[in-house]
């Protein structure tokens, strides 16, 4: 059976890229305390990093057992 970390990585990379891209194209402010943030860019980036990390784990473990 395949290494599950690979599809999890891809999914988060794709979703992260979409959020960051959309966040840049159509900025929507979210009120946080006294300031505003662009939630799509910030959280999209976090998802992208996580996706890359999972993909890297799967890639570096190729051929080995995933336990």
């Amino acid at each position: 059976m395949f290494d599950l970390r690979a599809p999890i990585g891809w999914l988060f990379v794709v979703l992260g890229l979409i959020l960051v891209g959309y966040g840049i194209a159509v900025p929507v402010p979210t009120q946080v305390a006294t300031t505003t943030i662009n939630l799509n860019i910030i959280w999209g980036a976090a998802m992208l990093v996580f996706g890359l990390f999972m993909s890297w784990l799967a890639f570096s473990d190729r051929g080995k057992s995933s336990s």
């Binding site: 599950l4 999890i8 939630l39 996580f50 336990s67």
Partner: protein, 535 residues
């Protein structure tokens, strides 16, 4: 904020991944053991996250947030006095019997330990329970879609059913488990910003609880009497929720145990609930706190209109904070949680139906391919029945009350059967059977007598806790009493099934940080700290 095209795109991408996993795994599903038990080959980090995720359905996500808005932080009792201690008990004391005896399902253990009628009773009641439960998830999903996507209830129920049907029928338990792990991460990423932004906006935890009704900030401080938000004193919490309901659910429900049985060896199976318990400890931050934030930030919550019922606490928070894009991720997270909750029930249902009912009573000695086919058919049938039960749930004011009511009928009495069966070798087959039957009847009877006005409780939850305690107690007492007047099984037939007659040597060979006792000790300390912090 209503969902836009981008949100649909994100949901669509998620569906593509879910279905692709089912398709890729289809070629690995050659035997019925592959389909129902994943060939007992899955690493423990995957079974561990699937263990928690199969439970991370509508109840966890929407129900706990609803309870957070209704009862405050006392809802965390479901985690820190309920789930975690029960998961530790399952891992350390019960898993050696479940995994070690090589059974394929929980009812099958009852057959080996006791007799055929006990198994039949449990298999049938479990099958009924799973389809009743999986309907909750479809109903919850329909509620969310109606609010945020403007879909009709019928439409969203049918769409969710179709997707779950496709991936469970293709890839069986492995597909379900793999998707559950993916869903676990989606739920974390989809819901965490709500807690973070919400807490920052209200000025932190202390400011939040100052703005909430009295008693919403303590777990134990006001439980000397029942005059607290939940309406239950500490005895009710510890016995009803902590001991009977939670242990009954986590230690006997095949839905979660099936994930551990798919592990590749006994110590992986033991680690499964332990690995699950680490994230589980922190889940109140994702579920209960958003509910409390909703009560603070959304003035109408708790009013009796459908769109502002407590059940809607979390969807309303998504609507409040998430822009297009993140809303898609948040919706996908909720959708994922409902689908994993539903798929979990369906994969457990098809296994129990095929092994414990069909193969045992209806068609013995058929080919493996035949049972694999029947398993797929049962998956489809289970989903169709779940659609019907989804409409049944609509008549209940709170999904949490509905679910705990079902658990109190089936799981709470069953836990007494397992406790005695695994730890007292004198327990006889017929005593176990009659104890279980009478315990279940007592619990169901208690419900109808309460409905008819013969018993009174301050809340539905209090009634659930006490009903569970009575059902358990009646089973426990009846089983012990009858065990003294009926014939026990000879010890030679109980090897590997009862404490004192099994071999624990297989577990001792691991590095220290993988040993179940070490992990369980760390978890115990963490759980005690959580209870003390919010005392």
């Amino acid at each position: 904020m209503q969902a836009g095209i981008l949100d649909y795109l994100i949901i669509g991408i998620y569906f593509v991944f879910v279905l692709a996993i089912g398709f890729v795994l289809k070629k690995d599903m050659k035997t019925s053991e592959d389909f129902f038990l994943s060939g007992r080959s899955i690493p423990s980090w995957i079974t561990g996250l699937a263990f928690i995720s199969a439970n991370l359905g509508a109840i966890e996500v929407m129900g706990m947030a609803a309870n957070g808005a209704e009862y405050g932080i006392m809802t965390a009792h479901f985690y820190w006095v309920g789930a975690i201690p029960a998961m530790l008990f399952l891992a350390i004391f019960m898993m050696p019997f479940y995994y070690g005896s090589k059974v394929r399902s929980v009812p099958e253990y009852l057959k080996l330990r006791f007799n055929e009628p006990t198994r039949a009773f449990n298999a049938i009641s479990f099958a009924v329970m799973t389809v009743l439960m999986s309907g909750i998830n479809m109903y919850a999903m329909a509620l969310v879609f109606k609010l945020l996507l403007n879909w009709s209830m019928d439409m969203s129920i049918l769409v969710s059913a179709a997707v779950v049907l496709a991936y469970t029928i293709l890839g069986g338990l492995t597909s379900s488990i793999y998707n559950e792990v993916m869903q676990f991460f989606l739920v974390i990423f989809g819901l965490l910003p709500i807690t973070l932004i919400g807490l920052i906006n209200v000025g932190g935890w202390n400011a939040l609880v100052k703005g909430l009704p009295k008693g919403f900030d303590h777990l134990w401080a006001q439980t000397a009497t029942a005059s607290n938000p939940m309406g239950v004193d500490w005895i009710g919490i510890v016995s009803g929720l902590g001991f009977v309901l939670s242990f009954g659910y986590w230690c006997t429900d095949f839905l979660v145990i099936q994930r551990a049985l798919a592990a590749k060896n006994l110590s992986s199976a033991q680690r499964t609930p332990l690995i699950a318990a680490f994230p589980k400890i922190f889940f109140p931050a994702l579920t209960v706190i958003p509910g409390m934030l909703a009560l603070y930030l959304i003035p109408l919550i708790g009013s009796n209109t459908t769109n502002y019922s407590y059940n809607m606490a979390l969807p309303l928070m998504l609507e409040k904070y998430y822009p297009t894009g993140m809303l898609g991720v948040g919706l996908t997270a909720m959708l994922a949680s409902f689908m994993s909750g539903m798929a979990g029930n369906i994969t457990a249902f098809n296994t129990v139906w095929t092994y414990d009912i069909y193969q045992t009573y209806l068609a013995k000695d058929k080919s493996d391919a035949h049972y694999l086919w029947i398993g797929r058919l049962a998956t489809a049938a289970g989903i169709v029945v779940s659609i019907a039960t989804a409409y049944l749930v609509m008549d209940y004011p709170s999904i949490m009350d509905y679910m705990q009511m079902i658990f109190s009928f089936f799981n709470a009495p069953l836990f007494a059967t397992f406790l005695l069966g695994m730890f007292w070798k004198r327990t006889t087959p017929w005593a176990a059977f009659w104890g279980l039957v009478l315990g279940t009847i007592a619990a169901v009877g208690h419900h109808f007598l309460t409905e008819a006005g013969y018993f009174h409780y301050p809340s539905m939850m209090a009634a659930n806790f006490w009903r569970s305690t009575y059902g358990w107690l009646i089973n426990f007492v009846v089983t012990i009493a009858l065990s003294y007047v009926t014939k026990p099984k000879p010890e030679s037939e109980l090897k590997g099934l009862v404490y004192g007659l099994h071999d624990m040597a297989a577990i001792a060979q691991e590095v220290w940080y993988k040993r179940p006792y070490v992990l369980a000790s760390i978890l115990t300390v963490m759980t005690i700290i959580c209870n003390l912090l919010l005392w």
